[in-house]
C-alpha cells in the first residue's frame, strides 16, 4: 500500500511538473533592405588635429555606403557627442533619429604625429555595444584608421571579412581611342591616394598584386614585345621576370607568392608556364594544340584555372598545379575568358562572351553558373579579398572605347562605379592591408 501511495504522489507531481519544456515562440522575419547606420562626427581631443573626427566619420560613412548594405546618416546634418558617450551613447536619441546601428569613437593624440582612433559599434535597437577597436596610426594615415573602423563595422554587421582597407591597381587610360596612353595606377579602394606607377611610355596590361600586396606582376609591350615584369610597389623598381626574347603575358602570382604563372607564345603556340618569383627557368604546364592563357591559382595553390581554345572555342579548364588532370569546366554556351579563382576557393569568376560581354561566376568544379552583370562589354573580373565583390571594367556601347571600373556584389544588386580620375581597365584588388 505504501508503494501505491508513493506512485500516486509521483503521478500527481508529474502533472504539475516544473520541468515541463518552456513555452516556445517561433518568429520569422527579416528584410534585404539596407541598414540605416548613424555615423556622427567623432569628438577630437584638443591635442589631435582638429577636424579629424569629422573627416574620419566621413570616410567611414562613405565606405559603408559603398558596400551596398548601409544607408549612413551623417556625419553631415547630425550632431556629435561627448567623448564619454562613445562607449555609452543615448540609444533612445539615435533610435528616434531612425538609426538601427551606430558608429561612435573618438580621436586623440598618441605621441608625436600619431593618433589613436577609437571605434565603437552599437546596436541601437538592442541598446548594446557590439564591438569596439582602437587603431593607432601616423596622423597622415588617418584614412587607414577610418577604413579599418569601417571594415570592423562591415565585418561585425555582415558576417563577412573586411575589404575596405584595400588598394586597387588598374590600367589608367588617357588619350584618343587609336592612340591610348596606358599607365599602371594604384589607389585606395575608395579612390583616394591615387598615383601612377608607370610613365605611359609603353603599353601595359594585367597588373596583379602579390599575396602580400607589396609587389606587382604585369605585362608591358615596349618595342612590340610583350614581357612579364615584376615591380616593387614601394620603390617602383621593375625587372623582367622571364629572360630571353620570348613573348610572355597574362601573369599572376601563386598564393604563396613564390611563383608566377603566365602564358608564353613560342613557335606559334601559346602555353602556360610557371617561374619562381626570384627568377629561374620557366616550367611548362600545358602543351595543347590551342592557345592556353589567363591562368589563375586556386587559393590553396593545388589547382589552376585557365582559358583555352583547344576545343575550337574559348572555354575554361582546370588542371592540377603540376599541369596534370586538365579538364574543361565551362559548358554553358558562348565563349568564356579571363577566369579568376576566388579567395574562398569555391567559385570562379569569368567573362562570358555570348553577344555581349558579361561577368559571371561558377562553381570551382564547373556548373552553378550565375551571370552578375548585363551590359554591352564587361570583362576582366578581379575578386575582393573577402570573395563577396568582383571588380571589372566596363565599356559602354557607343562610348568610343571609354572604359570604367565597377564592382558588383555576387549576391546581387547593381554594380557601383569605382572612382578613378580617368578611364580605367584591368583592375586588381589588393589583399587586406595589415
Amino acid at each position: 500500500m505504501k508503494r501505491f501511495a508513493l506512485l500516486a504522489t509521483l503521478l500527481a507531481s508529474a502533472a504539475t511538473a516544473q520541468d515541463a519544456p518552456p513555452l516556445e515562440v517561433d518568429v520569422v522575419g527579416g528584410t534585404n533592405a539596407v541598414t540605416a547606420i548613424a555615423v556622427p562626427t567623432m569628438p577630437t581631443a584638443a591635442d589631435a588635429p582638429q577636424g579629424l573626427g569629422r573627416q574620419i566619420a566621413g570616410v567611414i560613412a562613405s565606405d559603408l555606403r559603398s558596400t551596398g548594405l548601409f544607408t549612413p546618416l551623417g556625419p553631415e546634418g547630425i550632431g556629435t557627442y561627448p567623448r564619454d558617450a562613445a562607449s555609452a551613447p543615448a540609444y533612445a536619441t539615435w533610435r528616434s533619429a531612425g538609426a538601427a546601428q551606430l558608429v561612435t569613437g573618438y580621436v586623440e593624440a598618441n605621441g608625436p604625429d600619431r593618433i589613436t582612433v577609437a571605434c565603437y559599434i552599437h546596436d541601437v535597437a538592442a541598446g548594446r555595444e557590439l564591438a569596439h577597436q582602437g587603431f593607432s596610426v601616423a596622423a597622415s594615415d588617418w584614412r587607414r584608421a577610418a577604413h579599418k573602423c569601417a571594415d570592423t563595422v562591415y565585418s561585425r554587421l555582415s558576417g563577412e571579412t573586411g575589404f575596405l582597407d584595400t588598394r586597387v591597381v588598374y590600367v589608367a587610360e588617357t588619350g584618343p581611342k587609336n592612340n591610348r596612353t596606358k599607365r599602371i595606377a594604384i589607389m585606395d579602394s575608395d579612390g583616394s591616394n591615387h598615383r601612377y606607377l608607370t610613365l605611359g611610355d609603353a603599353t601595359v596590361t594585367t597588373p596583379r598584386f602579390s599575396p602580400s600586396g607589396d609587389k606587382l606582376v604585369y605585362m608591358t609591350a615596349s618595342g612590340r614585345r610583350p614581357r612579364v615584369m615584376l615591380m616593387d610597389v614601394a620603390s617602383g623598381t621593375t625587372h623582367s621576370l622571364v629572360p630571353g626574347l620570348v613573348l610572355t603575358f597574362a601573369p599572376r602570382f601563386s598564393p604563396d607568392g613564390r611563383n608566377v604563372v603566365f602564358s608564353m607564345a613560342k613557335n606559334g603556340r601559346t602555353a602556360i608556364f610557371t617561374i619562381p618569383t626570384a627568377g629561374g627557368t620557366p616550367r611548362r604546364l600545358t602543351d595543347s594544340v590551342g592557345a592556353d592563357t589567363s591562368p589563375s591559382y586556386s587559393p590553396d595553390g593545388s589547382r589552376i584555372v585557365f582559358e583555352s581554345d583547344r576545343g575550337g572555342t574559348q572555354q575554361l579548364y582546370i588542371m592540377n598545379a603540376d599541369g596534370s588532370g586538365q579538364r574543361r569546366i565551362s559548358f554553358g554556351g558562348g565563349r568564356y575568358a579571363s577566369p579568376m579563382w576566388n579567395p574562398r576557393g569555391d567559385l570562379i569568376a569569368f567573362t562570358k562572351i555570348a553577344g555581349n560581354f558579361r561577368i559571371g561566376i561558377m562553381n570551382a568544379s564547373g556548373g552553378g553558373e550565375k551571370i552578375l552583370t548585363d551590359a554591352w562589354q564587361d570583362e576582366e573580373p578581379s575578386w575582393a579579398p573577402n570573395g563577396r565583390f568582383v571588380m571589372f571594367n566596363r565599356i559602354r556601347q557607343g562610348s568610343s572605347g571609354q572604359t570604367s571600373l565597377y564592382a558588383v556584389d555576387i549576391n546581387g544588386g547593381d554594380p557601383r562605379r569605382m572612382p578613378t580620375p580617368q578611364d580605367g581597365s584591368d583592375p586588381s584588388w589588393s589583399p587586406l592591408q595589415r
Binding site: P22, V25, V28, G30, T31
Partner: protein, 269 residues
C-alpha cells in the same frame, strides 16, 4: 482396600461422561466458522491527473439501453415510496460475472429495482483496470525511496493549449515588427535558426540579457553569418520589449510554460 460396586459404577460413569465431553468439545472446536474475507480493495492507476478537483458526480440519467440486462422483459415495477434522492439506475452489465449480483441475475428475471446510484467514476471497466498503463520500469530507481509524507501539492492554475497559443500569438504579434526590420546578411543565413532563452518580469521587461541557447542549420556555407543572426535575434527582443498585455495569471503557471520564461526561435525568411 476394597472397592464396592457402587464406587465402580460411579467411576465408570464419570470416565464415560468425560470421554463424551471431550469428544463433544473436540468436534465443536473442529467446526470453526471463519468469517468471510473482505474482498480485496481495488486500486486503480490513472495517468491523467487533473489539477482541478474532480469530485464524483452522481449519474442522473439511466445508462444506455445496451447496458440493460437482456432478461429484463418484465415491465418495471412502480417505484417504492422510499425512493432514494438519486434516480435509480439499473445495474450495468459490466459487473463481474462471478459477483453475487450476476449470479442473482442468472437465477431470476432481472427486475429493475431501485438501487442507490453509485458515484460516477471515470475509471475504466474492470477488464481494463487489470491492464496497467504504467510501464514496468516505472518503479526503477525509487524502490528504496521512503514514502513521502509531504502532502500533495495544492491545485495550481493550468495553461490550456488554447491559452498557450494565445500567449504565443500575443508575443509574436509584438516582436514581429522588430523581426521584420532585421537585415539579412547574406545567402544561406536564413537557414540558421537561433534559440533564445528569455526571462521577463511581470511587467514584460527583460530581467536579464537574452541568452542564445543554441543554433541549428549552420553549415560551411553560412557559418560566417552565425554570429550576426544571433545578434539579430537578440536585437528583436531587445527592441520590442517590454511585452505588454500578457495575462498575469499565466506569467508563471505550475506547468512551467508561462510567458515569464520562454524560448524564442528566430530565423530569417
Amino acid at each position: 482396600m476394597r472397592v464396592d460396586r457402587a464406587e465402580l459404577a460411579g467411576t465408570g460413569a464419570a470416565i464415560a461422561f468425560h470421554a463424551a465431553l471431550i469428544a463433544a468439545l473436540s468436534l465443536s472446536l473442529a467446526h470453526v466458522v471463519h468469517p468471510p474475507e473482505t474482498p480485496p480493495m481495488e486500486v486503480e492507476m490513472v495517468d491523467e491527473v487533473g489539477l482541478q478537483p474532480s469530485a464524483p458526480s452522481a449519474v442522473a440519467a439511466p445508462p444506455p439501453p445496451a447496458q440493460a440486462p437482456q432478461e429484463a422483459q418484465i415491465p418495471p415495477q412502480p417505484e417504492p415510496a422510499a425512493a432514494p434522492l438519486v434516480q435509480p439506475a439499473p445495474q450495468p452489465k459490466v459487473a463481474p460475472a462471478n459477483s453475487l449480483a450476476a449470479q442473482a441475475a442468472q437465477l431470476r428475471p432481472a427486475t429493475p429495482r431501485p438501487v442507490p446510484a453509485k458515484p460516477a467514476s471515470s475509471r475504466p471497466a474492470p477488464a481494463q483496470l487489470r491492464a496497467s498503463r504504467i510501464g514496468a520500469d516505472f518503479l526503477k530507481g525509487i524502490a528504496d525511496a521512503a514514502p513521502s509524507s509531504t502532502p500533495a501539492r495544492a491545485a495550481a492554475p493550468t495553461i490550456s493549449a488554447s491559452a498557450m497559443a494565445g500567449i504565443q500569438q500575443a508575443i509574436r504579434r509584438q516582436v514581429q515588427p522588430c523581426a521584420d526590420r532585421q537585415v539579412n546578411p547574406g545567402p544561406g543565413a536564413s537557414r540558421i535558426k537561433v534559440k533564445l532563452h528569455l526571462v521577463l518580469d511581470r511587467s514584460g521587461r527583460l530581467v536579464s540579457a537574452p541568452v542564445v541557447v543554441g543554433t541549428n542549420g549552420v553549415d560551411d556555407d553560412n557559418s560566417r553569418y552565425e554570429e550576426r543572426v544571433k545578434d539579430l535575434a537578440v536585437s528583436i527582443i531587445s527592441g520590442c520589449s517590454p511585452l505588454t498585455g500578457l495575462p498575469p495569471e499565466l506569467y508563471k503557471p505550475a506547468s512551467g510554460q508561462g510567458w515569464g520564461n520562454f524560448i524564442l526561435n528566430y530565423n530569417l525568411p
